[in-house]
Symmetry: C2
């Protein structure tokens, strides 16, 4: 009985890692669709998103069921509460990836990313993927040594968002159409939010490992000067 | 003992309603600051946001403590799990209000909202406030009759976001500076996200009242065609 319970708890963690893998695929594919103008790939990301939503629903139901059946305390309780929060973050990261794919689809056959920003957007996607992989490792191994890198990736995402935004604002009139500015503004915000959620994931693991109060876990204002 | 527990559960609901009131103030003030160019008011919204974050941390700690101490099942368990989710949504709505205030502050002494969009932004704020008040009533009274109006308000918010976005894209070249397009794109997205969170709040109450599965609670892709 006790053994089954421990196995249930491990399954919750495995489910979180599965969700993270689905988000990785979605984010990577969305960026490829965006930069290569691959309409079929964009469609695939968009139609795959409900699957991630279902995974969250299943995970949450399992967690609530364990809370009801086992009345966990201490670390196990914290794990289940953290899992509920983490599944929300992962589901939201999936949404943001689908949003990127939606912009790719709308822009097709043009690309939403002007030539001079391709490299920056490619880097933002790379950072989003790295922060997500880092967060998965932190979840899998409960090793907070990797957390600092996720925070650094997020800082670079913030920086790139600001940089692109300033370049657009400072450009000569007529350098961008209004539609391009709208798309770029949304895109850089979506990538930046993915970094925020990765940070939120590793902070929740921090809460699990250290048992600290969750004082540092409120998101705060995430874009102080955008 | 049992009575103290019931009173603790009621306090959790009261705390959610208090948070909702703080968000209402933040959102109303942020919009006034934005449309009237009131710098002091913008500052007030920005500096008040950490207070809302602390309220979330306190509420979550209380909920986790009750989960540990009382091992609730059935409705009480669902209430506590829902409260953890709802406090996240409210905290995020506070962030979004602070983001609006940050844009007002950055634009000062100019206004981020061109004359031709003032009325639409005023309406988006009104809808955001209405959906938040509606959600509070649903939380307080567990009366789902009001939920439909919150969904309707959210639909109108989506519609206004699309309308403004299309007007900007379709305008003659030079009608907006790139900076104006960036600010407007972010502003309409922030208001629209507030509506999404209000819907998420009432759906969580729905889950409490009906005891339905949480199938309908994943957010999905919230801006299908933005």
């Amino acid at each position: 009985m006790r053994e089954a319970y421990q196995s249930d708890l491990r399954h919750i963690v495995d489910d979180l890692l599965d969700m993270a893998e689905l988000v990785e695929t979605a984010l990577g594919d969305a960026t490829t669709a965006l930069l290569e103008g691959d309409l079929a790939l964009a469609e695939r990301v968009i139609t795959a998103d409900p699957h991630l939503d279902s995974r969250q629903v299943e995970l949450d139901a399992k967690a609530v069921e364990l809370l009801a059946r086992q009345s966990p305390v201490a670390t196990d309780l914290r794990l289940l509460v953290a899992a509920l929060r983490m599944s929300s973050s992962l589901e939201r990261m999936g949404d943001l990836s689908a949003h990127i794919a939606l912009i790719a689809r709308r822009a097709h056959p043009d690309t939403a990313v002007p030539e001079q920003h391709r490299e920056q957007i490619r880097r933002m996607s790379e950072l989003g993927l790295a922060s997500l992989k880092g967060a998965s490792q932190v979840i899998a191994e409960r090793d907070l040594a990797l957390a600092a890198q996720v925070e650094k990736d997020d800082d670079e995402l913030d920086h790139l968002m600001l940089e692109i935004s300033r370049q657009i604002s400072a450009a000569e009139e007529g350098s961008y159409t209004a539609g391009q500015v709208i798309d770029l503004t949304l895109l850089i915000r979506f990538y930046e939010r993915i970094g925020d959620h990765a940070v939120s994931l590793v902070r929740r693991v921090g809460f699990l490992v250290t048992g600290d109060s969750i004082d540092t876990l409120a998101e705060g204002v995430d874009v102080p000067e955008f």
